[in-house]
């Protein structure tokens, strides 16, 4: 081997060693980097391990809050339904109270008017108006009992045919029986179903009573066309009329008679004074 060849081989070895050293350095660098990364991973794992318990706690607390809110929502829905039911009850009650109020107003108006006069004819007129305007009767009459003859005769009427009607004996027919027993009579069946009025078979017959003493009757034969049925307030009015109309008629009649007597006595006294 000559020196030129030996020199070339030495240069190749040195080049190889240089490449090898660079590779060694690079491998060291990679190992260092790897070490650093491993360290970072360990650090992150540690952090994750410490952070995990509070995250799950938050989740649990949120779940609990959600459960509570759902419960609250259910309770509110229940309360809402309850309030709605109560509201319906109040609405129904309002309608009932309104109807009751109207009934009481009618009764008040009727009784107030009945006792607003001591004039017999005016009392009769008021009773006619009540039966016509508040009850809604088209054909009806007021009959008074003559205690001497025991007969009931018409003293006022509305809507009925004008021919004179015979007096009814106490205890005879529906009207006579009502006056005898003092029990109100209501014909069975549809009150609006009236084709021909039968004066012997009235729709309603109310005794006019002062305590248990009957002084006459209110007899209804036919209702107005727009009045299809008798309502609760009508029965209340009948009941009120039975007592109040009787006292109104009785007291106004007594008052008229006493007025007449007073005038007669006064005239007599005046005559005496003149003599």
């Amino acid at each position: 081997m000559d020196t030129t060849e030996a020199g070339a081989i030495t240069k190749k070895v040195e080049d190889f060693l240089q490449v090898f050293r660079k590779g060694e350095e690079f491998t060291h660098e990679l190992l260092n980097e790897n070490e650093k990364l491993r360290y970072k991973i360990v650090q992150l794992e540690g952090r994750t391990r410490t952070a995990e318990p509070s995250g799950s706690g938050q989740l649990n607390s949120l779940e609990e809050r959600l459960r509570l809110l759902e419960e609250e929502n259910r309770a509110l829905l229940g309360r809402y339904q309850q309030v709605e039911e109560e509201n319906k009850d109040f609405a129904n009650r309002y309608v009932e109270v309104e109807a009751e109020n109207n009934n009481l107003a009618n009764l008040y108006v009727a009784s107030y008017q009945l006792h607003s006069t001591l004039d017999f004819n005016e009392s009769l007129k008021i009773i006619l108006e009540i039966v016509m305007n508040l009850i809604g009767a088209e054909e009806f009459s007021i009959m008074l009992l003559d205690e001497k003859s025991n007969e009931l005769s018409i003293v006022a009427q509305e809507g009925m045919a004008t021919q004179p009607r015979a007096a009814i004996r106490l205890g005879h027919g529906i009207i006579g029986k009502t006056a005898r027993t003092g029990e109100a009579y209501y014909r069975k069946g549809d009150p609006a179903d009236v084709t021909d009025v039968d004066y012997a078979n009235p729709l309603v017959c109310i005794p006019l009573k002062i305590k248990e003493h009957v002084i006459g009757t209110i007899v209804i034969y036919k209702l107005l066309v727009q009045k299809s049925e008798l309502t609760a307030v009508d029965y209340e009015l009948f009941s009120m009329l039975a007592g109040h109309a009787a006292t109104a008629l009785f007291s106004s009649k007594l008052y008229s008679e006493s007025e007449r007597k007073l005038t007669t006595i006064q005239s007599f006294l005046d005559l005496m004074k003149e003599k």
Partner: protein, 125 residues
């Protein structure tokens, strides 16, 4: 503002009944016993908001009252509600044709009456 209602009816019972029904509106009531008195009251109270009018009355009936109101022209804007005991359609039809804004039949049903009155009051606002 307080509403003013003129009631034209020959029955004291009806006057009192309307007063009771109208109590909730806190309105002032002007009373007349027939159409002629009703016209006089209209002249005295030109600010009347509503007239409740009976058909059958002595001296001057309800239909004649509406005719007179129409002739006068001054009170045509005031709504008139007619009431009829008989419930005869021809009476109410004639009243409506003459210019009445509504009608009630006796015995008055408060619920129907309130609905009508509230609608008329609302329209006049």
């Amino acid at each position: 503002m307080m509403k003013k209602v003129l009631i034209v009816d020959d029955s004291a019972l009806i006057h009192q009944m309307y007063k009771m029904i109208l109590m909730r509106y806190r309105c002032a009531i002007v009373a007349a016993q027939n159409g002629q008195i009703g016209l006089d009251k209209l002249a005295q109270h030109p600010d009347i908001d509503l007239v409740l009018l009976d058909i059958n009355m002595p001296v001057m009936g309800g239909l004649e009252f509406i005719k007179k109101v129409k002739e006068l022209g001054t009170y045509e804007h005031i709504p008139i509600v007619i009431s009829s005991t008989e419930g005869k359609e021809e009476d109410t039809d004639r009243g409506i044709a003459l210019g009445a804004r509504g009608y009630v039949t006796k015995p008055v049903q408060p619920s129907e009456f309130h609905a009508l009155i509230e609608a008329l009051f609302a329209a006049s606002r």
